[in-house]
């Protein structure tokens, strides 16, 4: 597998799209997951404005095809590491929407007991070490997860999601080198949405073809259209199979775009509305829904069904969060250490 040349605009690659699928149930599941993430995050934005959610909130809207397409390729015993923009990954990995929403409310029923908020979703039972708010900080952890599986003789795969911005950090370099040197079962998944906050790719990377950059470490690398859920799904499945087969680490670049601001505070001075609009034409939800219906894979009515199911689930999640309770202040310093300790 080798690096393909960079694409400069939002045009689709030679399409796979819905036409590449033949299983309606799978098509429905993919669409459902993307819509679920989209609506969940729209609700988050609303709740942020209402002051129910606080702190930093980074929306994944526009990038849903990645989490939705990639996650089904994993086993329960595999490990998932992500960033602060990880609602979609958590949902797709099966962390209950209610537990995620309660976390954003800061309730103790949240998936991190309210200690983490939006940027720090964790679910150990699902091997989801989701939230890291230090860009690049989870890459070394992923290498370690993979090392542990290798040493213990388990054939699990560790996947690590990170953004294009993280590629500039030294830990990217060190982690790809170490994983390749030791041939560890880790799959590096770069969500290249072309911006690190307000800094465009070509203003933060001397080599904008990230798959080519990764290839310099001598690990197989590939670029995928991250707006096409079927392309994501295929490429990720193949990569996971290869990594699980003991062939060492791999790198995948998903070419994508975020439709919303970096966070709720971002005035978006740095990019044109027109650019955003152009990318929105390639909305992963709308294009896939349209294609799937057009090629007869899904009934037109499925969309409404999904919207209803999702709306119900989100309402329930919000209700769960609302009904959640505050951790007693006296528990503040529990869980700093496992063994009760004086400082």
């Amino acid at each position: 597998m080798n690096a393909s040349p960079p694409r400069e605009g939002p045009e689709a690659s030679p399409a796979i799209g819905a036409a590449g699928l033949d299983d309606p149930a799978r098509a429905r599941a993919l669409l459902w997951q993307m819509i679920r993430i989209r609506r969940f995050e729209e609700k988050c934005a609303e709740l942020y404005s209402a002051g129910k959610i606080r702190g930093f909130l980074h929306l994944y809207i526009g990038e849903e095809a990645i989490a939705a397409g990639a996650m089904p390729a994993l086993r329960d015993t595999d490990n998932v590491l992500a960033t602060y923009r990880e609602h979609g990954h958590a949902l797709a990995r099966g962390v209950p929407a209610g537990a995620i929403m309660a976390e954003m409310y800061g309730k103790q029923e949240g998936c991190s007991r309210g200690h983490g908020g939006s940027m720090h979703l964790f679910d150990a039972s699902r091997r989801f070490v989701g939230g890291s708010a230090i860009v690049g900080g989870s890459l070394p952890l992923a290498v370690g997860f993979a090392l542990a599986d290798r040493l213990a003789g388990r054939d699990n795969v560790t996947v690590c999601f990170f953004g294009d911005g993280a590629v500039a950090e030294g830990e990217f370099h060190e982690s790809l080198n170490l994983a390749t040197l030791w041939q560890l079962p880790v799959l590096f998944l770069c969500e290249n949405n072309r911006y690190a906050m307000g800094t465009a790719l070509e203003r933060h990377q001397s080599q904008v073809d990230l798959a080519a950059k990764a290839a310099a470490y001598r690990l197989p690398s590939e670029s995928v259209d991250g707006m096409d859920v079927v392309a994501v799904s295929r490429a990720t499945e193949a990569a996971i199979d290869q990594v699980r087969g003991g062939q060492g680490p791999m790198f995948l670049e998903y070419r994508t775009y975020r439709f919303r601001a970096h966070s709720m505070f971002d005035p978006e001075h740095y990019r044109d509305k027109a650019e955003v609009e152009q990318w929105k034409q390639r909305c992963p939800v709308e294009t896939f829904a349209r294609d799937a219906v057009a090629c007869g894979l899904l009934e037109a009515s499925v969309r409404d069904e999904i919207e209803r199911e999702v709306a119900e689930e989100i309402d329930a999640a919000v209700a769960f969060a609302e009904a959640g309770t505050w951790e007693p202040v006296e528990h503040l310093c529990r869980d700093v250490y496992a063994r009760e300790a004086r400082p």
Binding site: F56, G114, H115, G117, E169, G170, T199, Q205, H269, E327
Partner: protein
């Protein structure tokens, strides 16, 4: 000239602008200082005014752009490196400690690193453990660095200018919670010296020794205490390294009782250094054991009620003073 009322962020921007106007060797470099306008909108508009070569957006690579600031300073420039927040400065610590702080002495005095590093610090915005550190007191352990924490608008505007005149590396810690706060500045931007602490409120019965974001909580506590008839002095350290021992001892000599208010985690905090210096230099002035109000020893949690409990609040300061004035003599730490 009549005083202007502006936000702290605007005071910082005025300082930056003045620095860029005054000296061609000054440039600003860091993540998203340009196109984005600064994560906290501090540098908004400066790219348009000063251009790309002086307002430089960097890739995410804290260690290298900080190190590049050191190199540029060694080679005649007066760089201002912005590390978005103190939390990310951990990635640049090797450069800060092993190069910036060390090169002058290690080279036998030949090299000079006239570098300014700015970063936001502190908690209180529900950003959780990885985005709420208060490590300025911890940085103050390092010889070769000058550590400053502007708490007022004049200092926000003017300490940068003084820092740029300093031949050594100066780290400026700007508290995130202050950015939107309004305050006054007078006249044109001018350097505010880095050597002295400032009494922000005179008082005779107890000293609150503090800095940065905690100054305002301390002043609010002093207000409350005044209403109860407790006459409280508030000393703003301004510079955390080197400490203004004379100002600290003078306040203690006047009030004989003190509370140090510090957002750092309690153990190994700057408050411990201050109390120890008082032991060393003014032990017999103490009428009661010194008390400190610090952050709880926990990674700062997201949930508001837990975050509030983790970080010193006005009530905690008031309670500490009550404990101290109650004179139980075994003042425990908050």
């Amino acid at each position: 000239m009549t005083p202007q009322t502006i936000a702290y962020r605007e005071a910082l921007r005025q300082g930056l602008r003045e620095a860029l106007i005054r000296d061609d060797r000054v440039f600003l470099m860091g993540e998203d200082v340009g196109r984005y306008g600064g994560t906290y909108a501090v540098s908004h508009g400066l790219l348009e005014e000063f251009g790309e070569s002086r307002i430089r957006d960097t890739p995410l690579s804290e260690s290298t752009f900080t190190g590049a600031g050191i190199g540029a300073a060694l080679n005649g420039m007066r760089p201002i490196v912005e590390i978005m927040t103190v939390n990310f400065s951990l990635l640049a610590l090797d450069q800060i400690i092993n190069n910036a702080a060390t090169l002058r002495h290690m080279s036998g005095g030949q090299l000079s690193v006239p570098l300014v590093i700015r970063m936001t610090t502190g908690g209180g915005r529900q950003l959780a453990a990885q985005h709420s550190h208060s490590l300025e007191g911890w940085y103050a352990h390092i010889p070769g660095l000058r550590i400053v924490a502007p708490a007022t608008h004049e200092d926000a505007r003017g300490m940068l200018l003084a820092a740029l005149e300093d031949p050594d590396p100066v780290l400026i810690f700007e508290h995130a919670l202050l950015l939107g706060a309004e305050g006054t500045v007078e006249g044109e931007p001018h350097p505010m010296e880095l050597d002295h602490a400032a009494i922000r409120r005179e008082g005779g019965q107890v000293s609150l020794i503090t800095y940065g974001g905690m100054l305002h909580k301390s002043l609010a506590a002093a207000e409350q205490l005044a209403a109860e008839g407790i006459d409280t002095e508030v000393l703003d350290l301004r510079t955390l390294r080197p400490l203004d021992d004379a100002a600290i001892m003078a306040s203690v000599a006047k009030t004989h009782r003190l509370v140090v208010v510090d957002e750092g985690w309690r153990s190994g905090s700057l408050s411990a250094e201050i109390i120890t210096r008082i032991n060393e230099q003014a032990f017999f002035e103490l009428d009661a054991p010194p008390v400190r109000v610090c952050s709880q020893e926990v990674p700062v949690p997201y949930a508001k009620h837990l975050e509030d409990a983790a970080i010193p609040q006005v009530e905690d300061i008031v309670a500490a003073v009550h404990r101290l004035m109650g004179g139980s003599g075994s003042g425990g730490a908050s």
